[in-house]
Amino acid sequence: MTNATGTVIAALQIALAAEQAAGYGYGVVGARLPQGSAEQALAMADWMAHVRARDQLSALITDRGANPVPAAVAYQLPGPVRTPAEASALAVTLEDRVAGAYLELVALPESGLRSLGARQVRAAALRAEAWRGSAEAFPGMPPASLRG
């Protein structure tokens, strides 16, 4: 495996790991939202989006001759999730992390993966906006990477 291929696979694995964590996290989010509510339906739709993205990333990794990283059995949540508000906050965190992970793909020179990464950063930011109720200036960007 060349360095370039290794870099591509590593970036895809980072995005895949973020998608797997989001899939797990949305299970928690959905469980803490009122049954049958619009928010729970939104969580279900977002979970489905992450499942599709996970499968797409797994296929991209396999196509390049590598093995997709397996999902963990469980994930450490960033904080307690007992209320609908905490569930919404978790959804925001999950989407922010997914957006950050896809920026790794945007850094790759391969135009197809770069475009995929950008579209997924946008999709994650839109989902985060739906949970947060507000927009962010730089979705996925670590503050340290911003100047001034």
Binding site: A99, S111, G117, A118, R119, R122
Partner: protein, 192 residues
Amino acid sequence: MVMAGDRAASGPEATGPARRALLIASATALPIVLSACNGIKVLGAPPAPPADVGTLRTAIDDEAELVATYLAMTGATGSAGLSGADANGRVAAALAAVLSDHRQHLAQLKSRLVEPAGRQSAAAHSPAVAGAGGRGSGVTLTLAQLEQAEQAASDRLIAQLAHLPAGLAQLFASIAASEATHVPYLRAARRH
């Protein structure tokens, strides 16, 4: 004793060889100076900036136009009124929040551009306002038009990613995502 006239009389004889040497040196130096001038001509104008610099300048100009648009809009919501004080306040707050995002976008984009001395971005001296449908000064748009402009700006940034350096591509992608989120954010402010 040496008189001024003596010096004048003896000067040419005394300095003759030096003057001749100087004249010869000047005659040989002249072509070098001229060829140096030709050399500059041969080099011609400075090379065109790389494509990514042009892409960045365009993005800066687009972002500056969005800032100008929102500045005009926030002024309009403060005076013209949309439909009722509550709606006006809510929309004004949303416009101010989006304006803040665009100002941050503009600052980050500008920080990535190293301009040669004397060259300014068009945005720095041309506060044109672009809406969904074109340019003008101080134009205010409907919220629906703003949503279209935001979506178009997001799409434009993503379409320009291919040939950018990695770090700049990430910034473009993040700004594109932010501008896409302005669409539902403004829509919510309009509907509630």
